[in-house]
Amino acid sequence: MTTKPILTVHDLSVVFPDSNGGLHVLENISFEVCPREFICFLGPSGSGKTTLLRVLAGLLAPTSGNVHFIRRQHPKIGMVFQQSNLMPWRTVMDNIKLPLELEGVSDAKARVKAQEMIELVGLDGFEDSWPRDLSGGMAQRVGIARALVHDPDLLLLDEPFGSLDAITRERMWTELSRIWQAKQKTVIMVTHSINESLFLADRVLVLTQRPGKVKFDLEVDIPRPRKDDIRYTPHFGKLARKLRETIE
């Protein structure tokens, strides 16, 4: 990609204060993200992946370094969490239109947008269902729809499929891949699954064990659209082995 980056992160460090000199979670992280790029941070648990996303989402101030968005100072964020994180007192429809409500969009407009998202994630007919009646995969689809409904500049995914079973999980990869192609969003995702990162991302950045540093930057040159069976090609296997070797 030759376009100008939309986001630059420079020399970012996060230290959580504790009794012996502070817990160094992230150390000197620098990277750039281009528009419509799908970036994946891959790392073992405890590598500060979630902390990185929280900084990017503006939920946490970095100890040093900076995060710079090109288009505006505070980008619109859509975030998908490890758990679907739905509000149990809102129906599927009302959960999805929440970000629009907060922006002050009129209810009629918000409903139309939310309905579009419901169709995009394949939940037609579940508009009025309560979260308690959804399966894990369906709930996470609602989470994705909610993260996209207000047309965010940046989509942040925090191990979104970590709590799903293996089969649902792989189905969701194909789904997310399709949704990403349809919406052309800039995505930053963190995961500890090598397959997940290779299947979805344009670039995989490997984080080390705490304190997290970027150890390896891999361009994933697998053509799109990626079908389910690309995971069994020799090239996929080669990339997977490369990543495996860099993670201790």
């Binding site: 505070h74 929440l98 308690r132």
Partner: protein, 253 residues
């Protein structure tokens, strides 16, 4: 068949109770000022209804209860919210809160009436005080139980403080808040009566006392039943609120 029968069980139980009461009156042959029969009570009820005294005093008590509930719930919810948010505020206020609970309301009711007179103000105050604590505790519990990840969600889409309050904290703690209101509603009836028994010119407590002094025991019974009705009514209103606002909690049948 079985369900339609069990629906009537409550009513049947009440009817049996009344029949048992009537039987006891007939068998023991106690004087009416000791134990009036259900029929006596019913007649007394109709009489007090006809002369307007029952409605007047019931209305008076209901007004005290409603105002007491209103002020008690509002103040407890607001203070509870800030307590839930601030540990240091909790530390500062908790000695007073615990002390206020250790003193039975009956013991301070005479004081409040001495200070605020025998009119409605003192009764409303007593109601508010008795309602205050359970609602406060439930507010603190409810607000503290809001999942932190939902705060993350709200902040990631740049929700304002008010939006967080009305779209997250309020609905998330509503089940516990209504639980507090449920307890408070029945307690407020007790509060009003305690106040009226100490000193009052109006209200069901006043009616009760007058009935007692004049050996009009049937009147005492009427007042007691009116109190039960008021308490049940308030309880029913809270239950309706729960049905309306907590639909998402009820399992799909």
């Amino acid at each position: 068949m079985k369900t339609s029968f069990s629906r009537w069980l409550g009513l049947i139980s009440v009817l049996l109770g009344i029949i048992a009461w009537e039987l006891i009156v007939r068998v023991t042959d106690l004087p009416r000022f000791i134990l009036p029969s259900p029929v006596d009570v019913w007649v007394r009820f109709l009489k007090s209804l006809a002369d307007g005294s029952l409605l007047l005093h019931t209305g008076y008590t209901l007004l005290e209860i409603t105002l007491g509930l209103f002020f008690g719930v509002i103040s407890a919810t607001i203070i509870g919210y800030f307590l839930a948010k601030s540990r240091s505020l909790e530390k500062i206020l908790s000695p007073y809160l615990v002390a206020s609970q250790a003193v039975p309301i009956v013991a301070i009711a005479p004081l409040l009436i001495l200070w605020f007179g025998s009119g409605i103000t003192s009764k409303v105050l007593i109601c508010s005080l008795i309602v205050f604590f359970p609602v406060l505790v439930n507010t603190v519990v409810g607000v503290r139980a809001v999942p932190p990840v939902l705060y993350d969600l709200m902040r990631s889409v740049r929700a304002t403080r008010w939006q967080i309050l009305f779209k997250l904290e309020l609905p998330a703690s509503l089940p516990v808040l209504l639980g507090g209101l449920r307890i408070g509603a029945t307690l407020s009836v007790i509060g009003a009566i305690v106040g009226e028994l100490v000193d009052a010119k109006n209200g069901l407590g006043f009616l009760l006392k007058v009935g007692d002094f004049q050996y009009d025991t049937a009147m005492v019974f009427v007042a007691v039943f009116m109190l039960i009705t008021l308490a049940l009514m308030l309880y029913g209103i809270v239950t309706l609120l729960e049905k309306r606002f907590l639909r998402w909690q009820q399992p799909a049948s």
